[in-house]
């Protein structure tokens, strides 16, 4: 649903040559490999020897993962390169977050840059195999990556082998251990045990799992150098980032911004709000709601958001119009999240369902007087008790909703039902699926 209707690209605030969006081709057109190569040198041929110089460049650039966890990329590269067996690179294009479509966009409109990044990462760690995982509902992205791979297969045969795989369009499928488990055993759910992909991943080999946007940044760092990369962004998280901006704004879409841009600047770049703002969701459905007065003072970087209890995640920013009900939106999201559990861990299966039920009863004005107390307790009881961080994200979302919409919630808790119950929710939700 979101995948087939990529919004048209508004001019990004950072259109500087060499940044990601300068590589984006408009829908319907294609940059051939030969054209791409005039701007971008071919990655070196695959070999087993890790490239320490490249890892150093990434380290000096201060690149952090853009998939949500914001982990320093160089540290991951180093850990994978240090393994005894030959590593594998697993490019993560699963984007299970419904409000995010920046990964779909970058794969669709700059597939050669993404593949260059993956191949450069392979040469950094000494891998000769690259796997690209793409969500099944991202057809345009899959077609573009397929086509880009075919062009290379003929023209640049000495590069690492590229294999492209389908990833189920489920939230948890993008979790790195789930993705590795998909390659190994065909099930995109976190496996039992505590193995980490950088130690034991695909076929037991050290595996670099890296978001596709991160890989594209890595390619631009290789091309333009760490100092160029660091010339924008914050000291802690240098560079630019792709933001999926949605909701009550004039021009929703994917924007490339300097990390640390203020929310207000992003909003003006998108033509401003279409009506009074009732709250802002950052970080998607594992992220946090902010009150409008918090949002207008916030910078879009992990540090800036943490200062107000927010979360940047994979760069989702959704603007809630004041005419919408935050509790209704949150209740719909929590119900959807409960259905996205992998179904393996009791606290996640039953806890998220109970939380969704309670939030729903609150919204409908039929909750008893203890519901907030129960939600509070369940949040603590669910957090940290799954095999992956999925339930923690849902709890983070819930807590921020209770905080941000406290005034509304108090009214609902006294028995006033939602007066906008027949309104379509603003936040996008794929078809409900049952637990696996």
């Amino acid at each position: 649903m979101k995948r087939n209707s990529l919004p048209s690209l508004p001019p990004p605030p950072v259109g500087e040559p060499g940044r990601l969006s300068s590589f984006f081709t408009p829908p319907g057109s294609w940059t051939t490999l030969a054209e791409h190569r005039r701007r971008f040198p071919a990655p070196p041929p695959a070999r087993r020897q890790p490239d320490g110089t490249l890892i150093e460049m990434v380290e000096r650039a201060g690149l952090r993962g853009r998939g949500g966890a914001s982990f320093p990329t160089a540290a991951k590269l180093r850990a994978v390169a240090a393994g005894k067996r030959q590593p594998v690179v697993l490019a993560n294009g699963s984007e299970g977050e419904p409000a995010s479509y920046k990964d779909a966009l970058i794969m669709t409109s700059a597939p050669h840059l993404v593949l260059d990044g993956a191949l450069l990462a392979a040469s950094a760690v000494g891998a000769e195999e690259v796997i690209v995982g793409i969500a099944l509902d991202m057809r345009a992205a899959r077609a573009a990556i397929d086509r880009a791979e075919r062009e290379r297969y003929a023209a640049e045969p000495s590069s690492a082998r590229i294999r492209i795989i389908d990833v189920p369009a489920r939230y948890v499928a993008g979790e790195e251990r789930a993705l590795v488990n998909l390659v190994n055993r065909g099930r995109a759910i976190p496996p039992q045990g505590t193995s980490r992909p950088f130690e034991r991943g695909v076929a037991g080999r050290p595996t670099l799992v890296q978001n596709v946007e991160t890989l594209a940044h890595l390619a631009t760092i290789r091309r333009n150098g760490p100092d160029w990369f660091r010339s924008v962004g914050t000291a802690e998280t240098p560079g630019t980032m792709l933001v999926s901006l949605g909701g009550a704004v004039a021009d929703p879409g994917v924007y490339e911004i300097e990390v640390g841009t203020t929310f207000v600047d992003l909003l003006s770049a998108a033509g401003g709000a279409t009506e009074r703002i009732g709250g802002v969701l950052t970080g998607g459905y594992s992220g946090t709601w902010l009150r409008t007065e918090e949002a207008v003072r916030v910078t879009l970087d992990q540090k800036g958001l943490s200062a107000v209890g927010g979360f940047l995640g994979c760069g989702v920013v959704s603007v809630l119009p004041a005419s919408a009900c935050g509790l209704r939106e949150s209740s719909a999201v929590l119900r959807w999240m409960a259905g996205e559990t992998a179904g393996q861990c009791g606290p996640c299966v039953y806890g998220l369902a109970a939380i969704a039920d309670a939030t729903e009863s609150l919204r409908a004005g039929r909750a008893d007087g203890r519901v907030l107390e129960r939600l509070e307790r369940w949040s603590g009881d669910v957090e940290g008790r799954g095999a992956c961080r999925f339930p923690d994200g849902a709890v983070r979302f819930l807590r921020s909703a209770l905080r941000t919409f406290a005034a509304d919630i108090e009214k609902h808790a006294k028995g006033y039902p939602c007066i906008r119950a027949d309104q379509q929710p603003m936040l996008p939700l794929p078809l409900m699926t049952r637990a696996a």
């Binding site: 976190p190 039992q192 393996q344 861990c345 009791g346 606290p347 996640c348 039953y350 806890g351 109970a354 369940w378 009881d381 008790r385 799954g386 095999a387």
Partner: protein, 69 residues
């Protein structure tokens, strides 16, 4: 610290029988859905026998004692 023991539950393996919480209420309580919540941090040596019994009694083989090295 070296030699300190902790109880850990495998969240995927655990099926919520709840026997562990009956045998070892000092360290384990159940959540509203019957799954064990284990007290954070190392446990005292005086509870080692009880902890071992809980581990052995788990029908899902989901409970274990880890020792810091």
């Amino acid at each position: 610290m070296k030699g300190q023991r902790q109880l850990r539950v495998d969240p995927i393996g655990c099926t919520g029988h709840g026997i562990c919480a009956e045998l070892l209420p000092e360290l384990i309580r159940l959540d509203d859905w019957g799954y064990p919540i284990i007290k954070n941090g190392p446990f005292p040596a005086s509870l080692l026998d009880h902890a071992r019994r809980a581990v052995t009694a788990c029908p899902a083989l989901a409970l274990r004692i880890t020792t810091d090295r």
